[in-house]
């Protein structure tokens, strides 16, 4: 349309300027800070120090372990529940509502609920386990480094799985009915239909769910802050918590920024295929 060349810019300008100010500026400031431009160890000094920092390496390992376990469980549970919700059973609306409920809980609140459930003195888990005679004494789950990690994974598995489930459910509903009918005519059983029709059609959606969930879980902060605050020791401290501590408790701002940039770089690397695919698909 004639004379419209500049109109587009007027529409996108306010949003772009606002984002540049509130997002672009801090992001660039963070990257500059990570190179220690305000004195300190010199360029890239923070990055070199990270590699020999046992706390950072533990936090990286914790993040990786946590994300792999949580995302795997999310996809398995999410796929199972999505399949159930995709069936034409009666009273489905009730289960649909219940299925998304955990995800509506703010993550720090989820962490607090689980922290109380696992409380050594008055928590429900110990009470139940003792009543079922699974153990004799109450146990301090969150005081044990290994069990603390298992507990945090379990808590986030519960809270977060409806998100990939919703993505997978959308994928299931997009599979054409004809494909199932064709499989039925060929005499395929439930399992054969699942592996030959459902799973291949759903694969792109599973990949999307994995990528987006990995990004969410890598950034997770409130759940762990509320549940264990990274403890005991640094047994459940992930990278988000590590950066927060370095910045706001030890005031090692340049060092914290280096760790944050590393985390951001990993997330972007994970997201690049998704971003490219999304942009290509759209236009």
């Amino acid at each position: 349309m004639i004379g419209e060349r500049w109109t587009a810019y007027w529409f996108v300008l306010p949003g772009t300027v606002l984002l540049a100010a509130i997002l672009g500026f801090p992001a660039i400031a963070s990257i500059l800070e990570s190179f220690g431009l305000q004195g300190g160890a010199g360029p890239a000094g923070g990055y070199a120090a990270l590699l020999s920092d046992a706390q950072f390496l533990t936090a990286s390992f914790n993040t990786a372990l946590f994300v792999v376990c949580v995302v795997t469980l999310h996809i398995i549970l999410g796929l199972a529940v999505a399949l159930l919700l995709n069936s034409q059973i009666r009273h489905l609306w009730f289960f649909r509502v219940v299925a998304i409920l955990p995800w509506t809980v703010p993550d720090v609140i989820g962490g607090l609920i689980f922290r109380f459930m696992l409380d050594p003195l008055s928590g429900g888990v110990n009470a139940l386990a003792i009543r079922l005679q699974l153990m004799q004494q109450p146990y301090d789950w969150l005081g044990d480094p290994d069990w603390a990690m298992v507990s945090v994974i379990m808590a986030e598995t519960w809270r977060g799985y409806p998100y990939p489930m919703l993505i997978l459910l959308a994928g299931l509903q997009a599979i054409p009915k004809e494909q199932y009918e064709a499989a039925a005519i060929d005499g395929a059983g439930a399992w054969a239909t699942f592996t030959n029709v459902t799973l291949p059609s759903l694969m792109p959606m599973i990949l999307i769910a994995v990528v987006l969930d990995v990004i969410w879980q890598c950034r997770l902060f409130g759940m762990i802050y509320g549940m264990t605050n990274g403890g005991p020791g640094d047994a459940t401290q992930n990278l988000s918590l590590f950066v927060y501590r370095q910045y706001f408790q030890f005031f090692e701002t340049s060092y914290a920024a280096s760790a944050a940039v590393v985390l951001a770089a990993v997330l972007l690397a994970v997201a690049v295929p998704y971003i490219r695919a999304t942009l290509r698909e759209k236009d």
Binding site: P26, S30, Y225, L268
Partner: protein
């Protein structure tokens, strides 16, 4: 597809197990919030409150100032949602209806910014807000939250506007309407359900945040719900009945909103991820 009765029995049982799994933590939270402060710390724990009381709610609401935190959270989340929607609708319209130089680059930036971790931004943000005297203010927190909600608001709204036929705009402009008028009068009414859904998602994202409030708010009277609940635990004596009552209140708003938006959840949240 025809299924045997055994199949439905299996599906029904599995769904019931799912419901029990999903609801157990809620049950524990709600049950504990109605216990007395003695019962909630007793050993072994009781399943249901022996002496039903709403004392915990009264305590946190009046004495601990949760009525204030609640209002603060509404203010901050509401401000974030309205700001994102107001700015986002124009940008979304621009991206949806025009092909201009730098469009793809800007859209790629929108996607990339959604991947950035909050901890990358929160430090510089803290310094930035101190410089412009917005540290420890709700406005500062709203701007910070908007940096998260605005990119996905634009992206989701663009998806909704894409589904509205261009012919509607063109017809309006044939009749002499400007671009702006055609957005307000033709696109806006059609995109309203999507706009409401997007706005509520922004609201809930801001509502659930802890990191930004933790780093940018220091005055106790300015705390949000999540920050207030977290600080309740940090105190010397952990009173779980009070904390559980606070979490019930903190969960109630998101739960009600999400359930109202159920219809949009699949097309909205998943759709944003799926259709882009």
């Amino acid at each position: 597809m025809q299924h045997r009765r055994g199949f439905w029995l299996f599906v029904g049982t599995a769904l019931l197990i799912m419901a029990a799994y999903n609801l157990t933590p809620f049950f524990w939270m709600i049950s504990s919030s109605f216990k007395t402060d003695i019962e909630v710390t007793s050993y072994p724990a009781t399943l249901l409150p022996q002496a039903f009381t709403t004392a915990a709610y009264a305590r946190i609401w009046d004495q601990e100032g949760f009525v204030l935190y609640f209002i603060n959270s509404i203010k901050v989340s509401g401000g974030t949602a309205v700001l994102s929607a107001a700015v986002g609708i124009f940008a979304a319209y621009g991206f949806s209806r025009f092909r201009f130089q730098g469009r793809t680059a800007l859209m790629a930036m929108l996607l990339i910014t959604q991947m950035l971790p909050g901890v990358l931004l929160v430090g510089p943000y803290f310094k930035m807000l101190s410089l412009v005297d917005l540290y420890d203010t709700h406005l500062g927190l709203i701007l910070a939250q908007t940096s998260i909600t605005l990119p996905f608001t634009v992206w989701m709204l663009k998806g909704y506007i894409d589904t509205i036929p261009v012919e509607i705009d063109q017809a309006a402009m044939m009749d002499g309407a400007t671009r702006f008028q055609s957005l307000i009068h033709c696109v806006f009414p059609n995109v309203l359900p999507g706009l409401v859904a997007t706005t509520v998602f922004s609201f809930l994202l801001a509502w659930g945040d802890l990191l930004w409030a933790l780093c940018l708010i220091t005055t106790p009277e300015k705390q949000t719900m999540t920050l207030g609940i977290t600080n309740l635990v940090g105190q010397f004596r952990v009173l779980w009945s009070d904390i559980m009552a606070a979490t019930v209140i903190g969960c109630a708003i998101p739960a009600v909103f999400y359930l109202m938006l159920q219809r949009y959840l699949i097309t909205g949240v998943a759709g944003a991820a799926v259709k882009g």
